[in-house]
Every structure is written in structure tokens, then in C-alpha cells.
Amino acid sequence: MRRVVITGAGTINPLGHSVSETLAAMRAGRSAIGPLEIRDAGRLSVRIGAQVRDYVAEEHFSRQQLGLYDRFTQFALLAAAEALAQSGLPFPDGRTERAGVVLGTAGGGVGTWDESYRAVYEEGRNRVHPFVVPRLMNNAAAGHVSMRWNLKGPSFSVATACASSNHAMGLAAQMIRAGQAEVMLAGGSEAMLCFGGIKAWEGLRVMSRQACRPFSADRDGMVQGEGAAVFVFEEYEHARTRGAEILAEVAGFAMTSDAADIVMPSREGAARALAGALADAGLAPEQIGYINAHGTGTAANDRTECAAVADVFGAHAGRLMISSTKSMHGHLIGGTGAVELLACIMALREGVIAPTVGYRAPDPECPLDVVPNTAREARVEAVLSNAFAFGGFNAVLALRRA
């Protein structure tokens, strides 16, 4: 079977504007969650989030480009550029008809929707910017990445709420395995930290007003983030032949559906995805040293996720490490699995396990080693990355040391 490896990584997220900045923050256990600085923040009841700070779009893009790029597209383009630079691939030259891009996003151009609704409803204007449709569409980011790097193979966007990135990356890996492409850019992007984007989440009553404390007994909800991460997935022989540095192998992927509830997670559905990823990768449970948890910090997710891990791993559940980096970068919704894959690569390559910060008290319903508050050095051979979405859609990736 054709194997899939990762030969490049790029990101911009609340922890940093590059992979190195992001990993340094994860090692230090630094949280980027703070007071939201957005228009009309005073009318929100949830006023914290993890924003991408010190970001000036005009430093990266021309006025003409910014007319077409929503914030989620800007993030995706910056992450893709960093990933491709690391990969050493010759794009936009080379065999780009055998390369494509699959990106996850839950909301697409939420900021563009928000601004346009303000213009017509709040300000009573009868005209919006002519590029509103190509800015806000969910596949805008994938489209611009394809255009920027001349990728002429299969490209599309995936929207499965909080599992969008994991579904995108899993599908990209399957396409390389199936021989549909040699190289796929894969990951996700989200930028919904605007008034309407946060107002919508507020209504669901699952947001914390203080902090994201996954697995901690005193956790009281999730905190939103924003940003993107993009990876270069490449067929193993293709990467080896050109002497590329391999960051990790994408060993397996599984997706399941709960078929139960639109928002409440299912232990059984999550467990089937975890077991499926192990089987697809040909890994025994005992080979998994680390799991990057979905770990949203809600009462329901963290309890259910720990139970599912216990079901699949048995006694080994008590030996493996599981952490939620959402405690630092927030929940990037459709982009979250991509940023979290960075923690998985750090674990495999550098032997550093990113911590769950903000952890204050053990919860008997989350009795696992959640790597509380401080990063840990540990050699691991294989890892999993979990994503469990509204809709009851579960997507788990398995990575192995290169």
C-alpha cells in the first residue's frame, strides 16, 4: 500500500505566527486566551477568546488581494506558504497536476457575512462589496491556496464543524493512498471571532467566561480561538526519492458517526473512531504514547472522551498521556485539528508532550494522565489526534514516528 508522510508544516494561530513560535508556546505552557478585542465586545456576555494578535494583513497581502481574502483565507495562505517552504517542493513549478489541497473550515468567511449583514441591516445600506460571495464561500481558502501554488489536482473544502480539519487531513491521506495525487496540502482554517460569530456560540450556553480548563473538575466550558495550520502530505516514495525531510507518517485514519444527537457526544461513537484509527494504522493500543484530545473543556466532552479512551485502551489508558492544547490556543472549531496536529508532531519528533494548562483539580470522571500544566519530555512512537464534532461526526488520525 502507498504510504503517506508529512514533509512540511505551517501555521498562524493565537500561540504564534509560525510553527516554531507555536511549539515554543506549547513547550512553555503559555495560554493565548485573553480579553476579546473586537467591535461591540461590550455587548457580549462571553468576552474572552484566543485571538491571533499583532497581525497586520496589509504586511502580507496587497489591497487587491485583501478585497478577495476573508481572514480565514489569509490565515490559510500564510500557513500553506510556510508548509511548502519547509517541504522544498518546487511549486508553483513541477508536477502540480498531481497535487491538490483539502482544507477544513466550519464557518468559512464568517467575518465577511458579519460585515455585510451589518451594512445592509444595521446601517441600512443597499449595497455590499462586490466580492462578498467569493470571500465568504467555504472553499475560498482552498481555492486561493490552489491558485497561489498552481495546484491542479483534486481540491475541495470540508465542513464538519469541530472535526473539519481532521476530516480534511484524513481524506487527503486517503487520496494519496488511493493514487489520486502524490502531494496534498491539508489542514484547516477558521476566523469566527467577530460579534456575530461569538453571539451564536453564546446562545448555546457552553462557553466559559473565565478560562478553558479541559479535564479539570472545575471546568466550565469552551473558549473560542482562530487561525490555521496546513501540512504537506506526500506519498512516501515521492518524498524519499527527492530526499525530503519527513516529519512524521500519517499511519491511519478513521471516521464514525454517532447517529444519536446533534450536540451531545457519544462514548460509543468516539470509541469506534479511536479503534478504527488504530486498526487502519496497524497499531496495537500499547504502541500509542500520546493522544491529543478533543478536550474542549465542556462537562460532556471531556467525560465522554475519557470514557471512550478507557474503553479502547483498557489498562494502557492509564499509561498513555493525553492532553488538550485547546487550553492554550482555544477551540479553533473547523481549524482546530490542524493546529493540534502540531502538538502530535512535536511529541514524535522532539519528545516533548504539550500540556493541558489551567488544570486545577482532578475529576474522577477524567482519571487519565492529562499532562497537567507543564510540558513533559517523553519518547513516543505513535500518537492519535481526536476530533468529535457537533452532528455526531468523529474523526481520529494516527501518526507514527518517521
Binding site: 446562545g203 450536540v263 451531545m264
Partner: protein, 89 residues
């Protein structure tokens, strides 16, 4: 005023539970009436809209936040208190 609030709370809960008001007893819990977490969140939204108040309720920690949801009577009493506080009545 207080009776009106109580009556309206019962009507909101009845609509969410797809029951007649006469079928709801003050000592019923939301669970007794078959209200799941989504229905509870929607009930609280309806209460906020009906009375023009903010209800401190986090689905992650429903026992916290100073809003007692242990029974329909408790919810009605909490709403009466919030209306008095927030409207200065």
C-alpha cells in the same frame, strides 16, 4: 405580578415539553418532564425573551450560576427574583 410570572414560566416549560400546563406540577424537575439539555437551553432562552432578563446559566455547570433548576417551582422563583433585580421592580 408574581402569579403572572409563574403562569408564564409554566407555559414556556409546557410548550418545550410538549405538555399541557395542567400536566406540570411545581415539584417536577426538567428531567421528569423529558426536557434534555437542548430543551433546557431553549426554555431559558424563551424565559429571557419573555421577561427581558439575563439568566445566568451555563450548561456545563447547571448547578452553579445562582439559578436553581432543580424543579419548575424553583425555576419560577428564580425568574421572579431576576425580574425584580433586573427591572428594579
Amino acid at each position: 405580578m408574581s402569579d403572572d410570572i409563574r403562569k408564564k414560566v409554566f407555559e414556556i416549560i409546557a410548550e418545550q415539553a410538549v405538555l399541557e400546563v395542567s400536566e406540570i406540577a411545581p415539584e417536577h424537575s426538567p428531567q421528569d418532564l423529558g426536557l434534555d439539555s437542548l430543551a433546557l437551553v431553549e426554555s431559558i432562552f424563551a424565559i429571557e425573551e419573555a421577561f427581558g432578563i439575563e439568566v445566568p446559566f451555563n450548561a456545563n455547570a447547571p448547578q452553579q450560576g445562582d439559578f436553581d433548576i432543580s424543579s419548575i417551582a424553583a425555576i419560577a422563583a428564580a425568574v421572579e427574583r431576576l425580574v425584580a433585580e433586573q427591572r428594579g421592580a
